[in-house]
Symmetry: D2
Subunit: 329 residues, 4 copies
């Protein structure tokens, strides 16, 4: 469903071209200083200012609707809401009959019997991740001194990201990207062997971000080709620090006190300017489809801050469960 | 925690060298014919008969402790239990002070204040997955005609698996492996956009299997290097079938009616015969450690059936939620 | 936490004197016709128009913020929001140091370290039940033909409710009340023996309504004084109809096809005009406290519609679980 | 479903005349000394030794199947199992066609399509509460110094319990009873306003105990007839102690530091020796039914210890959530 977390619990809602999008954060400790300005830096990192991101002029103005009083969290649920603006819904009418290849158009119609809000992909839109970014900003504050940092390592297989994006844009195409995330100073012992391993929880949250198609921890897929002697991280001190970090900071599903490191594969945006074929459900034939609208050339450019949010949210929950964050700050 | 699922719910328990290991399956529809013999084929696939698996002579005899009457499920929780036997616990005493590199020895001690049952890695043992295999056999029966099939594609980077395993065994080392899983005939529309995407749920369950370090759907990590034009799967018929399957059968978090395909990276077994250095918490120095015990050279050899179980369990839950499986069979 | 339900899931938020109050409804089937007008009848029943209810001029204008498109539910989460207005927050300053007897002032300060929004009792206010009423109106539509009806049976022990309320108001006091709720046409077999008996779920939801102090099903507390011969409801037909209904329509935690009947005890409003003593945390002495503000003489007058909502919400969840309501309407 | 709790989580299973009954306790802090002898006092209080309880010679021998090592909890899930013995299943064959009045026979057949294990009422049997008693004994140890005590106040409306029970037995009938439970020394601030009020959680758990038909907190149903002036509990000291306790120790859904007091109505056992009419589903006619078997005259005699367990289990969960119990003891 649209909620996640045990003690630090999120519920997400909203549509791209409806009234707005938002998030409900339940279980945040009371007494945390919180202001809409706290969301600004992360929201700006998510904004489509970079080349390769959609030219839609989004006004991502967060409003705190509940749970904050006199500048501090009260312990009650915090709702953050983003009103929508600058909407051109007519762009989307055609996708009801001609689903975009690689997109949720077809499956959302099947699942919701055609009642899905298809405008701007509705609840399936990447715009819904605005709420995650805002909730993530809260989580980052409460997990301090734990630090989460994600960055785009390459786009379209190319470490020269700007050039790769520019080329794809010029070609009327899109490209995927690879994001690395690193969590420093997490205490050891977070997570559970079954079923809430740290990897399980991070993967669960991160695979709900649109366009994510893979995740690996530490040496990840390289591990499959390694030998134990080379993969094993030798413990070098009493606090569990290891010489290498092939495990990505997690053993047996639990954090081990070393940096938690994982990489996320992001597929290329499915909506591309170039004409593609798709199935026309009205005519019953395959026909060419031109997608107008405004779409990111490389959605991965906007996801590092969302990946960070996802990671911080999981850490907040786990640290509350392990009593590493007090209930009143 | 040690439970997972919304309508088809698992709770796992037990230790490698304690009384036994088992699983509790809640929410199974009533009326399903079920007998311990139904578990046999999957349990045998998990058994350490292949070269490269531990020589420990496990008697994996499942007992149905509840929830089945006159050969059919009753609708009440089903407990399946496996008594332990053939135990040599003395092998594990040393790891209390000298944690095995790459293993949960250190973190489990930190998390549980030294009270963890360290014998055979206790609740962190791969043996706990016996319960998953049994529960998976039940799930496979109720999701029919949906079919789940996983196989080991390569070990140690080598498609000639037997040879690679034999060489690692000869070297006193271990190797990782790569498993592919394929789910056929799943109905479209399973899953949720947030937070219970099909990828989220599968990844959550699969990362709780010991030694798993990565998962990717469809083109997965290759997606990050692809262009939209090449990645997009063109819909070719009214039932949503696509020309290619780079998405791995999932769009927008929902199944799209094409095969669900994912690959799982399994790290090499951390317990290896060859001497390694580790930190001795008694002496406060790094010292060489020889691991006796009996361990798999390539744990990935035993995991395909567990991956299948994990997938079938998730499918069962999602199909019950979407009312694709009746409450009484 | 502030959420409840398995497949039909609520998350509640908001404060009496903050921006507003609202609810998030997740899991509502797609295709249900829904308009703010659908909330009107129930919201009006909750409004303080009767004598004995607070004169605060609430404008209970619901806004559908998500999950509805072209007049129908989309299958995505539905947020309903009520902006606050007509606020006199200064009335509440004094209760920070002098907690009202019988009120949450003291405990909310302890729990949230003084950061609780104390204005109008914040998230503890009865105003938060507005969201429940709105969500209940949705639930009532999807559980049809199941019907839920609650009414106030007596106030202050007196079946002549208006007179009892008027007398209490005249005395500067408040009174409690007794509400009966009756659910007709619920299918048999809803609920679970452990831990989700129908009584468990209804009681859970209903005890979250402020001022509720007791609940009984069927003969309820009278059962404790009865004999089996008299209490047992004799089955008289093949559909399970019984001659009497001492069980209140529930056997072994499951609905039995007869009307579900329960009664709810509502305590008198704790905020009364008459001067009371309380502990002054500043002076450390017991001192007289005069509560100005505007409060209901008999909060039970406004609760029947909330009790109905609570019951309908539980029924909706149970009927979805038992596949008695389709996922697309 | 058959599980409950957020951080201290129970899963219950088993049948009266199957292999056995048991419980899985997840989330118990590590390091708690625990031995089967710890269960003895509570299990003995539940045993049918008093006049008015069933003469079935139950051997309630608990076995710890997991989660305990060297006499202490390990932090892994604890399974406690009770093998069944002394079974006369033939007594129950007739109830498949002729459901006992007031019993779950009819509804369990409907819900599970006739596949329910009807022997001894299967999973609906009061015997399943053995697991609750055992889990409760664990909870009582971890919530110390919080103390829970329940006792039977009256049976069949009569405070002279033994006499009332003897008379009912002589008449071939059964009687209900009223149990009071008192929790001392609970810290203030446990619980949530929505939806996890202390009353909600206690009521949820307690209504899953077979035969419970009502619960009230503090003045409870009397509150409905009271005035605010009389009901309000005046705070008399800085720790929140109150002069009276009409609220039963709970304000706004949160514990207030005073004793938590509630009363539970238990209906008379539905299985009585005296002949009753019921519907014969084979003949389609109402016919007389004689229930042989062995049944309690007054099941309420055995429930105080189960009510205590239920209360202690809820307290354990809430205290872990509020970080009043450490994760390692």
């Amino acid at each position: 469903m649209n909620s996640f977390g045990r003690l630090f619990r999120l519920s997400i809602f909203g549509e791209s071209h409806g009234v707005g999008v938002g998030i409900l954060v339940d279980g945040c400790p009371a007494g945390l200083p919180l202001d809409v300005e706290d969301f600004r830096p992360d929201l700006e990192r998510r904004m489509p200012t970079a080349p390769g991101t959609t030219p839609r002029a989004e006004r991502d103005q967060p409003e705190i609707m509940s749970g904050v009083h006199q500048g501090r969290t009260t312990g009650a649920p915090i709702q953050i809401f983003f009103k929508n603006a600058d909407i051109r819904s007519e762009d989307y009418e055609i996708f009801k009959d001609m689903p975009r290849p690689g997109h949720a158009d077809f499956v959302s119609r099947i699942k919701f019997g055609g009642y899905n809000d298809h405008r701007g992909s509705g609840h399936f839109s990447g715009r819904v991740t605005l709420g995650l970014a805002a909730a993530g900003a809260i989580a980052k504050k409460i997990i301090r001194p734990v630090m989460v940092q994600a960055c785009l390592e390459e786009a379209g297989g190319d470490a020269q990201i700007e050039r790769a994006v520019a080329q794809a844009a010029k070609d009327g195409d899109s490209i995927g990207g690879l994001i690395q995330c690193r969590i420093e100073s997490a205490p050891p012992g977070l997570g559970e062997p079954f079923f809430d391993s740290v990897e399980s929880l991070l993967a669960h949250m991160i695979f709900s971000i649109p366009a994510v198609k893979g995740i690996e921890f530490g040496a990840g897929f390289k591990s499959a080709r390694m030998r134990g002697k080379d993969h094993n991280d030798l413990i070098v001190s009493a606090d569990g620090k290891t010489e290498t970090n092939h495990s990505g900071g997690v053993n047996g599903g639990l954090t081990n006190g070393n940096p938690i490191v994982f990489r996320v594969a992001v597929k290329p945006t499915s909506s591309i300017p170039m004409v593609q074929n798709t199935f026309n459900f009205k005519s019953g034939r395959r026909e060419p489809l031109a997608i107008r609208g405004r779409h990111d050339v490389c959605i991965a450019l906007r996801l590092p801050v969302i990946i960070e949010a996802a990671a911080a949210l999981i850490l907040a929950d786990l640290m509350l469960i392990e009593q590493k964050i007090p209930k009143v700050l």
